[in-house]
Amino acid sequence: MLDKNGIAKRIAQEVKNGYYVNLGIGIPTLVANHVRSDIELEFQSENGVLGMGPFPFEGEEDPDIINAGKQTITTLPGASFFDSSTSFSMIRGQHVDLTILGAMEVAENGDIANWKIPGRMVKGMGGAMDLVASAENIIVAMMHTNKKGESKLLKRCSLPLTGVGCVKRIATNLAFLEVTDHGFKLLERAPGVSVEEIKKATEGTLIIEEPIPEMNI
C-alpha cells in the first residue's frame, strides 16, 4: 500500500520530457519532488506563473509570489508571470500537457467530482472545471476509499460533477488504473496489495487482465 508520497512517486513516472504540468492542491503538489532530474518540464500554476520552483528559504518568502494553493514559492530561470486570463489561455488552449488533481469521486466513465458536497462543504471549483474540461491528459491522485472506507471509484458519481468523461488515469494508495470505454482497467497493483483487495475497494466496473504487475517505484 502506498502513502501520499508513494502515490506522487508513481504519478511522477507519467511525466514525460517537454511537459508543461499543472498540479492541484494536496497529493499532486508532491509530484514535483519525484520527477526524474533528467526530465525537462515546467510547472504551471493557474494564478499566473510558469516555471515554478521549490518553496523559498525561510526569510525569503515574497507575498507577491505564490502558487494556486496560496503557498509562497520561488521561480526557476526561464519563468514568467502573467494574468489570470492568459493563464487560462494556456489551460483551455491545451498548451498544458498534463493535469494532476485530487478527487472526491471518479466514475468509470471518467466523470470527476471534487468541488462540492451539497449542504456541507462548498469551497468552489477554482480552476478545476477549466482544467478538466480542457486537458487531454488528466491523472487523478487520491486515496482509493474515503474516510468511511467507501470506494471513491464508482459506477456513477454521486456528488456534483466537476467534469464529464475527462479522467484518463488514476493513481491511488492501492493501484494505478486507466479509464477505458468499459470501466476502470487495472494496470498495476501498489506494492504488497492483492488484486482481491483492489476489487473490494472498487465499486465501479474493474477490468482485470491477469497477471497484474506490481508497481515499480
Binding site: S45, E46, N47, G48, V49, P54, F55, P56, F57, E58, G59, E60, E61, D62, P63, D64, I65, I66, N67, A68, G69, K70, Q71, T72, I73, F81, F82, D83, S84, S85, S87, F88, I91, R92, K116, G119, V122, K123, G124, M125, G126, G127, A128, M129, D130, A133, S134, P160, L161, T162, G163, V164, G165
Partner: protein, 233 residues
C-alpha cells in the same frame, strides 16, 4: 497625456453607492486592493455584489466586508478560506455564484474587450451549465458565457503613473490585469506612483486607457496565507 491621479482613496471611490456591482482584483490575498477595501469598510457601502476570485479570509481582504454584512452577493471561483463566508452562505444571508476560474477571468476580459459573449468548454455537463446555452464545436460541447457588467473595478498594481499605466509584480498580476477596463470606472491603487515617462512603454502590463483613477496606497500589509518554506540545507 491624460492625468488621472486622485488625491485620496476617498476621492477614488467617489460615486460608489449601495447596490453596485464591483470587480476586485487579487488571488487569495495576493494583489488585493487593500486600500479600496479598507475605505469601503469605512464608508459602510452595502448590498454590493463582488466579482472576485476569492472572498478573503475571516479578518482580511473581502472578509472585512463580509464581517460588516456589506456584501449581498459574491461571484467567485473559490471561497474555501473563509468560515464567516461559509456561514453566511449556508444560512442564506449571502448569495453566492460559484463559477470556473477561467470563465471568471474570461468574462472580465470580455467586458474589457467589447466581446459580449464567448464559448468555453469549462463546466459543461455540470451544475455550472444548467440553464445555459450549449453548443458543439470541433466535436466538443461548450457553454455560452457572457461578459460581466460592473460599476467599479478596484485593482492593485506595483507601480503606476498618472496616466494610468500599470505594472505588476509576480503573481500579484492575476485578475487585476483582466479587470482593469472591465467596469464603468476602474480605480487603480499602486504601491508606488512613479513620474510619467519613467516606465518603459514596452513593459506596461495595463495601458492607462483602461484606468480612470489612480492613487498611491497608504500601506500594504500583504498578508501571506500559506507561509511555506524549505530548510536552508
Amino acid at each position: 497625456m491624460i492625468h488621472k491621479t486622485v488625491a485620496s482613496v476617498s476621492e477614488a471611490l467617489n460615486g460608489l453607492s449601495d447596490g453596485m456591482t464591483l470587480m476586485l482584483g487579487g488571488f487569495g490575498l495576493c494583489g488585493i486592493p487593500e486600500n479600496c477595501i479598507a475605505q469601503m469598510v469605512k464608508t459602510g457601502v452595502k448590498d454590493i455584489t463582488c466579482i472576485s476570485n476569492n472572498a478573503g479570509v475571516d479578518d482580511f481582504g473581502l472578509g472585512l466586508l463580509l464581517q460588516q454584512r456589506q456584501i449581498k452577493k459574491m461571484i467567485s471561483s473559490y471561497v474555501g478560506e473563509n468560515d464567516e463566508f461559509e456561514r453566511q452562505m449556508l444560512s442564506g444571508e449571502l448569495q453566492v455564484d460559484l463559477i470556473p476560474q477561467g470563465t471568471l477571468a474570461e468574462r472580465c476580459k470580455a467586458a474589457q474587450s467589447g466581446i459580449p459573449a464567448f464559448y468555453t468548454p469549462a463546466g459543461y455537463g455540470t451544475e455550472v451549465g444548467e440553464g445555459k446555452e450549449s453548443r458543439e464545436f470541433n466535436g466538443k460541447m461548450h457553454l455560452l458565457e457572457h461578459a460581466f457588467k460592473a460599476d467599479f473595478a478596484f485593482v492593485k498594481a506595483w507601480k503606476g503613473d498618472s496616466t494610468g499605466n500599470l505594472i505588476f509584480k509576480g503573481t500579484a498580476r492575476n485578475f487585476n490585469a483582466c479587470m482593469a477596463g472591465a467596469a464603468k470606472i476602474t480605480v487603480a491603487e499602486v504601491e508606488e506612483l512613479v513620474p510619467v515617462g519613467s516606465l518603459d512603454p514596452n513593459d506596461i502590463h495595463v495601458p492607462g486607457i483602461f484606468v480612470q483613477r489612480i492613487f498611491q496606497g497608504k500601506t500594504y500589509e500583504k498578508r501571506i496565507e500559506q507561509r511555506t518554506v524549505r530548510p536552508r540545507n
